[in-house]
């Protein structure tokens, strides 16, 4: 097998972009620190990935995920696909911005790779991106009744009080899903400060309960009081 040396990867740098443009898709180049990357409009994702799979030899969907670019950012959610070609030993990253910042959705690619099924379920579970056309879109890591999408940036690391998946056990033990004790943490420093007082690590700002409403504001007030 050929090794993934520099010459193959440099020729591949222009390839996916030029190839997708040649197919009449509105692909644009995406900034990347390693592999060739393209942005495509959300509606053309399935077509673009289909072309890459059938004609460019990208036969494996390695990874499918989404990024939350902070609360209030627009576009807020980006769905990212990583493809790998087992014949040419190159990667390509395909990204598409979700149209809605509150109810993100993306087309499902299960028809191209059956393995995308679980990736999309995970992405729906943790990020709340709805995959249109998915055969069985339900939570995969958290339990079915869990009300939040934990990887969104407005969700605190410590979690939010909610009910346990099992009512019997709650009744017997009196335990609920509680916020984890963060002891003032996690501690994060601002970067690039030579002033040591400024550079001192501080608790990451999760004071959203004071400054803006929390997803379950009423419930929280009761718990606190």
């Amino acid at each position: 097998m050929a090794s993934g040396n520099e010459s193959t990867s440099t020729t591949a740098t222009e390839l996916p972009l030029a190839f997708l443009r040649g197919k009449g898709l509105a692909a644009t180049e995406r900034a990347s620190s390693d592999h060739p990357a393209v942005d495509v409009p959300l509606g053309e994702v399935v077509v673009a990935l289909g072309h890459l799979k059938s004609e460019q030899g990208f036969d494996m969907l390695m990874d499918l995920t989404a990024i939350d670019w902070a609360e209030g950012a627009s576009p807020r959610f980006t769905v990212v696909y990583h493809l790998y070609s087992t014949t040419r030993n190159v990667y390509v990253r395909v990204a598409a911005n979700c149209a809605s910042d509150t109810e993100p959705s993306a087309p499902s690619v299960v028809s191209l790779w059956p393995g995308a099924n679980w990736h999309e379920r995970e992405c729906f579970d943790l990020m709340g991106v709805k995959f249109v056309g998915h055969p069985d879109l339900r939570r995969i890591l958290m339990w079915d009744e869990y009300p939040y999408h934990p990887l969104r940036k407005d969700f605190p690391l410590a979690g939010i009080e909610t009910a346990l998946p099992d009512a019997d056990v709650t009744a017997e033990t009196g335990t609920r899903v509680l916020s984890a004790p963060m002891a003032g943490g996690p501690f994060v420093a601002t970067s690039g400060e030579i002033n040591l007082t400024e550079a001192e690590p501080r608790a990451k700002d999760e004071s959203w309960a004071d400054r803006r409403p929390r997803p379950d504001q009423e419930g929280l007030k009761q718990v606190r009081e």
Partner: protein, 416 residues
Amino acid sequence: MATEFSFPDSAAKAAKVPAGLVEGTEFQTEKMSLSMGPSHPSTHGVLRLQMELDGEILTKCDPVLGYLHRGDEKIAENMTYNQFVPYTDRLDYLAPLANNMAYAIAVERLAKLEVPARCQAIRVITAEMARISAHLMGLGAFGLDVGAWSVLLYSLHEREKLYKLFEELTGARFTTSYTRIGGVTRDVPEGWLGRVNAFCDQFLPILEETLTLLTRNKIFMDRTVGIGVISKADALAYGLTGPNLRGSGVPLDLRKDKPYSGYEQYEFDVPVGSKGDCYDRYLVRGEEMRQSVRIIKQVIAKFPDGPWYATDAKRIFAPPKDKVLTSMEELIQNFMIVTEGPQMPPGEVYFEAENPKGILGFYVVSKGGGVPWRLKIRSPSFCNLSILPKICTGCLISDVVSILGSLDFVMGECDR
């Protein structure tokens, strides 16, 4: 929206009996819904299979994951790059050193940082030792699943020897946290390489003996040959990687195809299976251990001198303790890295390493600074398990145990 399972309903079943059929002349069976796990010895942790059975045949299989979902990706967004290293230990806790290396290289790619040859060599040795240790455990657990108890005891014994070496190098038996961004925590101790070499020498005959317990064992072959066959096309479509993909005949090994950390310097073979059944996956793992020993011996034979961390990466790698305690400049450097984290440029990288279980990928999105904005972990076990509904449907319930053993997954990594 849970998958619909049909439950025993004798009234409905009786109504379906054709009119002409006299009751009792033909055996009527009902479908049974059975949950295997999350606490079951052959689900290797906390996997749960919700199965629908027609007699002993599975008609439906729905894996339920998430019983070990600990929120690693969210945790990563809340701490500096180096602080996340211990969490990578606990992804695939059978091969923490390989995870450490994959994560460190991913972040180094983001920083466009090259580590020196000695550091790469140390990482390769530790990753290959981790591979041996992980495959031994996989082998032992597989043997245990199909009823061969002694294999586990043999492999646990060898793993103890490896743990002793790990402990000497890193200070911990298996939650090693050995790499840092831009290097490793410490250089190899004196005489350690010789002891690794000695381990390899004595390990090979023991490996042969251990494999002999299974390889032509009639009971083992009856339980595995022709069971859980995964075709090449399916393996690629479901994103299988590692020994499971190679067992199906696809020679994808990133150490060969997209070499990292200096793997291109070493000679080794990539074993592939012919049929893609449980037995092939077992054979591939066995052979990979031999190849790992081969790699380790080559690395030790030409172990490079020189620095063992990126000495020029002043804002990324905290210098060793003796320098911190004696030099003001290094003390400040250490302080900055500990408080702010290693400084990364904005950008995004996706790096995959060939881990024992398959391809472990890290997708790091940085907005600059010492904390990742998003860290996605592409876990091989997660992808490998996604084929279960397909290959388990139609097989015997006892075959499910063989299939799970041969897929050799770790739930810590699968659920993250």
